[in-house]
């Protein structure tokens, strides 16, 4: 596989996710303006922070006049789960120059990671080095980034007039289902999924999406703890 093919593979993989993400970005633009954030700052936020649910929280907290330290702490907690993605792709990116690592870390979101990971597991099984894995991640990361910036622009410019009850956001869980289900090929992986899912539902009321992080950790431990024989 050539670099351009790998990039295109990542880009195409993230397209279904954009169906759900673009309306989300438009709504972010609207919410940011309603919170008193200037249009230019709302757009710069999408470029600088580039984290969907954290940006929503940020806009809400700015709207109620929360202090900087509290907002920064909240954003950190909401994005804590991205450390798991960082650990997951780190061995695959180990051989790359620093500029690549910085670029891919900046683009490392739930959606870009989810879209790229099934393809990365094919070209780099067992976290082996691969000449193409980073191009797949760059393709999905760039696709999501471009979609998010355009959606924010749309929200800031024309947002409030768009219909918001089209159920398009359902594209996100559906795409995650399409990605996760084929990956469940052992009892340990099934246990990891069931544990993480049940824990996330049980802890959904935790503030700052911390329940997501704890639930994901519970899933990792459950999967890894299953005796090898039973796998």
């Amino acid at each position: 596989m050539k670099a351009a093919e790998a990039f295109s593979l990542g880009l195409r993989a993230v397209m279904p996710i954009l169906v759900g993400v673009v309306p989300f970005g438009v709504i972010y633009g609207v919410v940011a303006l309603q919170s008193g954030i200037p249009a230019l700052a709302a757009m710069a936020m999408s470029a600088i922070v580039f984290a969907g649910s954290a940006q929503f929280l940020l806009a809400q907290l700015v709207g109620v006049g929360a202090p900087l330290l509290l907002i920064a702490g909240a954003v950190g907690m909401v994005n804590l789960r991205h450390a798991l993605y960082s650990a997951s792709v780190a061995p695959i990116l180990a051989h790359l120059p620093r500029r690549w690592k910085i670029l891919l870390a900046y683009l490392l979101t739930d959606e870009a990671y989810a879209a790229a990971i099934p393809h990365i597991l094919v070209v780099a099984p067992n976290s082996s080095r691969s000449a193409q894995a980073h191009w797949i991640l760059f393709g999905s990361g760039f696709g999501l980034w471009a979609g998010w910036q355009l959606a924010t622009l749309g929200g800031v410019l024309i947002g409030a007039q768009l219909p918001s009850n089209l159920d398009l956001d359902f594209a996100l869980p559906l795409t995650f289902i399409a990605i996760v289900v084929p990956l469940i090929d052992s009892r340990a992986r099934l246990l990891a999924a069931v544990t993480a899912g049940a824990a996330a539902v049980a802890m959904a009321a935790m503030p700052y999406k911390l329940g997501l992080f704890v639930a994901a950790m519970a899933g990792l431990v459950a999967g890894a703890a299953m005796p090898r024989r039973a796998k």
Partner: protein, 103 residues
Amino acid sequence: MNIWWLMLVCGAITFGIRYSFIAAEGHFQPPGWFRRLLPFVPIAALTALTAPELLLMQGEIILGAGNSRLWAGLVAIIVAAVWRNTLLTIGCGFLALFVLQRV
């Protein structure tokens, strides 16, 4: 409060979290148990994101026919397990949601 300072701080925190393990790779030797957790990251993290979307409505667990997203999600899970096709899964999930909301 200056919105631009806030943005830079939040951007730096977010980037720092995403860069953490990527930057540390090669500079420290993670313990074996840590490496054994990593293959489960895609499954655990993405299921944690998805399950509440299907099972919860306004924070309550709803299992009945009133929760169209749960049943549409189950259709998608079956389609994904049988055909392993992303677009087919998404298409069937949306179709199921559309039908369930109208019966």
